[in-house]
Symmetry: C2
Subunit: 135 residues, 2 copies
DNA sequence: GTAAGTACGCACATAAAGGTAAGTACCCAT
DNA sequence: ATGGGTACTTACCTTTATGTGCGTACTTAC
């Protein structure tokens, strides 16, 4: 068994086997961790970038202006750990690793992209509506 | 003028007036701050909760299991600052404040809700695909 | 030769996020 | 009169995220 958490709604008689869905409003629901990874500072960007196709580590690094190698690696591990990203390493001399989205990853990616797109497209209105930050 | 940032793509001759859209992949684009607020730990939950209608501060606090008053207040300020949340305070003796979404807020809220829903609905598959976290 | 690129892991350091506890000013139920 | 609820703020402290710099083991370009 992979996982088993009471915060995940289940309908079957056994607590373990069949949970139906998570509940983000529940304090310890594991869905909160998934959300955290997906909405992490670089998680969003990585998912959107990978929707555009397979990328190598340094391609992602260059595309995502501002990420440090450390955080990119960390973010990719989170996403890989959640089953959203697939990592394929070639045993060649100068390292060569390719990252791509899994079917599940493509699904979240689309949701995330929709949000990202909305923000990018509405930035003008948002900035117009913003009240200048105090500090 | 409210805002004026070179990272926001613009088409007009003047640098200031007409930007078209933000670019999350650009290092200093203000869209990243908006994204940060919206995807902050409690930001997502607050937006989703408010999609369900106006809420008072303590209603939100109770609904969002685990938030501290401090962070809820902070999150609401961020969202209010971005023009997504409207705050209405009644000058009554025991404080009474109501929070609701602005039209803009309702739009992002829907995007965020779509993501949240997807995660909640697919938690079972995600957990099945997860590789057990090391640390 | 020499520098740069590749995909990280590791140790160190800081900033930011988030939590805890206490205070405010006043009303209402017990 | 005593305690709880309301909406926060402020001070203080811990945790987490994220950044910086170094090392690696070679290869290719200059």
């Amino acid at each position: 068994m992979r996982n088993d958490n009471p915060q995940v709604a289940e309908a079957s008689s056994t607590l373990s086997a069949k949970m139906r869905r998570g509940d983000l409003f529940a304090e310890k629901c594991p869905s909160r961790d998934v959300l955290k990874h997906v909405t992490s500072r670089w998680g969003v960007l990585v998912l959107v970038a990978l929707l555009g196709g397979t990328h190598r580590f340094s391609d992602l690094r260059r595309k995502t202006a501002g990420v440090s190698e450390r955080m990119l690696a960390q973010t990719l591990k989170w996403l890989e750990g959640d089953g959203f990203v697939a990592r394929k390493a070639y045993p060649v001399v100068p390292p060569h690793v390719e990252y791509s989205l899994t079917p599940l990853g493509r699904e979240v990616g689309l949701k995330v992209e929709a949000l990202a797109d909305w923000i990018e497209g509405n930035l003008p209105q948002i900035m117009a509506a913003q009240i200048p930050p105090e500090s």
